[in-house]
């Protein structure tokens, strides 16, 4: 009974976290050898790791996901033999359209929102005399002590949260109509093979 209670009291993300933690523990014991511990010593690779950890925001992440999606998803749809050729063709057109529209708007909105947050997350010594809206510049600056890297990630997080709010609207106003227009355009480009008898 106690175990049932403990399961039901967990949320879905917690259950997923627990499953992945167990997987991690098992994989960690299995991975690699004790005799040779991998050390990343190439300065260029170390520099890249450092840069990614500090600078890669959700906007760049969305761009990477979009680019890799274009390289994989249309081919997965093209090899889907469970549907007829006409459905497959629409599916490919829509997948490409969705990736292009989603990545373009997702990247732009995230980037703009992170930039907007940055404008109002200044520390006191960053405020210059010729700046406009001086009082608002520290509106979003946290009151706790922080490092430069932590503040940068804080701005990315707030910017991404703001972007998600904005995307509630732009998904309907920009993404969806753009996907629709691109899908129809791609379908037309490939030739409309759909013959409607009625």
């Amino acid at each position: 009974m106690a175990s049932i209670n403990s399961i039901t009291s967990l949320s879905i993300p917690q259950v997923c976290e627990n499953v992945s933690r167990k997987f991690t523990r098992a994989a960690l014991n299995a991975a690699g050898s004790r005799e040779k511990l991998p050390t990343i010593s190439n300065p260029k690779v170390l520099g890249a790791v450092d840069w990614i950890g500090k600078k890669l925001s959700s906007a760049e992440n969305r761009l990477i996901l979009g680019a890799s999606a274009l390289l994989s998803q249309p081919f997965i749809d093209a090899s889907n033999k469970d549907v007829d050729s006409e459905t497959r063709r629409y599916s490919i057109c829509r997948t490409i359209a969705k990736i292009i529209a989603g990545t373009a708007t997702g990247y732009t909105i995230r980037k703009l929102c992170i930039k907007s947050i940055d404008a109002f997350t200044k520390s006191v010594n960053e405020i210059k005399p010729d700046m406009k809206f001086k009082k608002l510049r520290t509106l979003l600056t946290p009151t706790l002590k922080y490092t430069a890297d932590e503040l940068s990630q804080y701005k990315n997080t707030l910017g991404t949260i703001l972007a998600l709010g904005v995307m509630v609207f732009t998904n309907f106003l920009i993404d969806a109509p753009l996907t629709k227009a691109l899908t129809n355009w791609f379908a037309k480009l490939g030739g409309n093979h759909n013959v409607k008898s009625e």
Binding site: C16, R25, L28, A31, L37, V83, P142, L144, L164, T183
Partner: protein, 220 residues
């Protein structure tokens, strides 16, 4: 009495302490929310697109719903698992930068050999965490920077695997099954509504045959 100004302060400081030192975690959570909102919009877009024939909509709408649902689950399972695994590789000292490795060697955790570094035979990686070491402050900055980089790389790789490979394969399977089922049901309704003389045309017969669950259209 709730104080809005205090609540706002708390919100900012919570974001700073929770995600400031852990950017990969933020990317996962916001990524899931983003996929969910995007899927909802796409479903509406397909539903109102009058240029997509009804039969294709029957595939595309479940495809989108499946995409959203599978994305969320695979994000939490695959992406979190890969991110946690990479995280533990660093925190257990298996994967390190030269400075972290030197620190572990100086602390007696690693032993330098001619071939590289190794640990003692009875060393348990799953119980060890660099952050629990008493002199962790000596390497804190280097460790955090290296770990954040590895976390974000692993999270991105996990996202690519889950969103761009696992999800499209699974959602296509799911959507195709849904389309077949819906088309079969639609044709069944049409058959039931048929007036005398009851029977089927060659076209309907061919459609029915193609929708048979068991095997290919030629095998009826």
């Amino acid at each position: 009495m709730l104080n809005p100004s205090k609540l706002f302060e708390n919100f900012k400081n919570t974001i700073l302490t929770k995600y400031g030192p852990n950017p990969a975690k933020m990317l996962i959570y916001t990524g899931v929310l983003g996929w969910f909102l995007s899927s909802a919009a796409q479903v509406v877009a397909i539903a109102v697109n009058d240029k997509i024939p009804k039969e294709q909509k029957m595939f595309l709408i479940p495809q989108e719903i499946g995409d959203g649902a599978i994305n969320v689950v695979s994000f939490f399972l695959v992406t979190t698992a890969i991110k946690n695994f990479a995280s533990r590789l660093v925190s257990s000292g298996k994967l390190a930068s030269p400075k972290i490795r030197q620190y572990l060697t100086d602390s007696g955790i690693n032993i330098k050999t001619k071939k590289g570094w190794k640990v003692l035979p009875n060393f348990d990686f799953s119980k060890f965490d660099i952050k629990n070491m008493t002199n962790f402050d000596l390497i804190k900055d280097e460790y955090n920077s290296f770990k954040n980089g590895i976390d974000v790389i692993a999270m991105t790789a996990g996202s690519i695997l889950s969103c761009n490979i696992i999800t499209p394969i699974l959602r296509n399977k799911y959507a195709a099954k849904r389309q077949q089922k819906t088309l079969a049901e639609m044709n069944k309704v049409n058959m039931d509504r048929m007036q005398y003389p009851r029977g089927i045309s060659m076209d309907t017969y061919r459609n029915q045959a193609a929708l048979k669950y068991s095997g290919s259209p030629l095998k009826i």
